[in-house]
């Protein structure tokens, strides 16, 4: 995130987590959102999005991630999102009823070589984050 500074934790091995509000993402274009996420993740940070991404943005995030993968540098992203599939199905009904915008989701994105999902169910994402 441009205006944030990275504190020196003494050994330089800390992992930063950016918690980004839905309000902040709302004012950005799709590419600005993707750039914000990928710039942070490529720096080794974990990004938590309060409002998640739209399917179109998720598609572009995968596409842009692929263009930036390079050997021994960046191997891609690990991503987990609420709601679970069951909740997403309820969202489908909501879409049919015109309530698409009310669906909330939370997305965790991190560098694939540093974050590993240990467990995920409808109300818990458990992840292991390793230092570089």
């Amino acid at each position: 995130m441009p205006e944030a500074t990275t504190p020196d934790d003494g050994d330089g091995n800390g992992v930063r987590i950016d918690l980004i509000s839905g309000a902040r993402m709302e004012g950005l274009t799709s590419m600005e959102k993707i750039r914000l996420i990928l710039d942070s993740v490529r720096d080794g940070d974990i990004v938590v999005l309060e409002a998640g991404l739209s399917p179109e943005e998720e598609s572009k995030l995968i596409e842009v991630t692929m263009t930036e993968i390079s050997p021994d540098d960046f191997s891609g992203i690990e991503i987990e999102t609420y709601p679970s599939t069951q909740q997403a199905n309820q969202g489908l009904v909501g879409r049919l009823l015109g309530k698409e915008e009310s669906a909330k989701k939370l997305t965790v994105i991190g560098p694939a070589n540093q974050i590993e999902t240990l467990h995920k169910d409808e109300d818990l994402i458990s992840a292991l984050v390793s230092r570089k």
Binding site: T81, T85, T117
Partner: protein, 213 residues
Amino acid sequence: MGLLTNLRDSITRVTDRLFADDEPKRIGIYGPPNAGKTTLANRIARDWTGDAVGPESHIPHETRRARRKENVEIERNGKTVTIDIVDTPGVTTKVDYKEFLDHDMEKDDAVKRSREATEGVAEAMHWLREDVDGVIYVLDSTTDPFTQVNTMLIGIIESQDLPVLIFANKVDLDDADVKRISDAFPQHETVPLSALEGDNMDEVYEKIAEYFG
């Protein structure tokens, strides 16, 4: 400007589809790596044209560029459906060349394979937004379907309003669990099959004709 461009593109896509009824439907075969997409594409192509689409392998990302088999005519229940089959690379959010080293591959070859794989996945994602009329989503029925990539891809396909059929592949294996897949995506029809053994292909062709005809 972006909004106008998106609107124009959407209108173009809709009109293209409306006036392209006589053209073969482009059906993308999507899914995670090693689900058996190319094996299925080859099975369909061989059954109806006599030719294969591409090489198959147990090594992830054997298909690194999308391959298309055009004008595949499928006859079912007195009806003929003509489709172009587009076999795509396995969609993933990460590609690490070091994984290929476990398959007795030299580093240079592994790096080359990973570069080609990333280009292929990017291309497949772009096509999903712009260039397919329907999707066959292939899953390995011996593995957990509740992955973020599967959930995201199905969500992306739904958001494009594309007809989608979910195929639970590899039912010839002992630990196959088709119910786990149908439970994961209950909003879509799940068809069990073994592309390798040719099991249940009659139903596969019936569903293709029904969904994409």
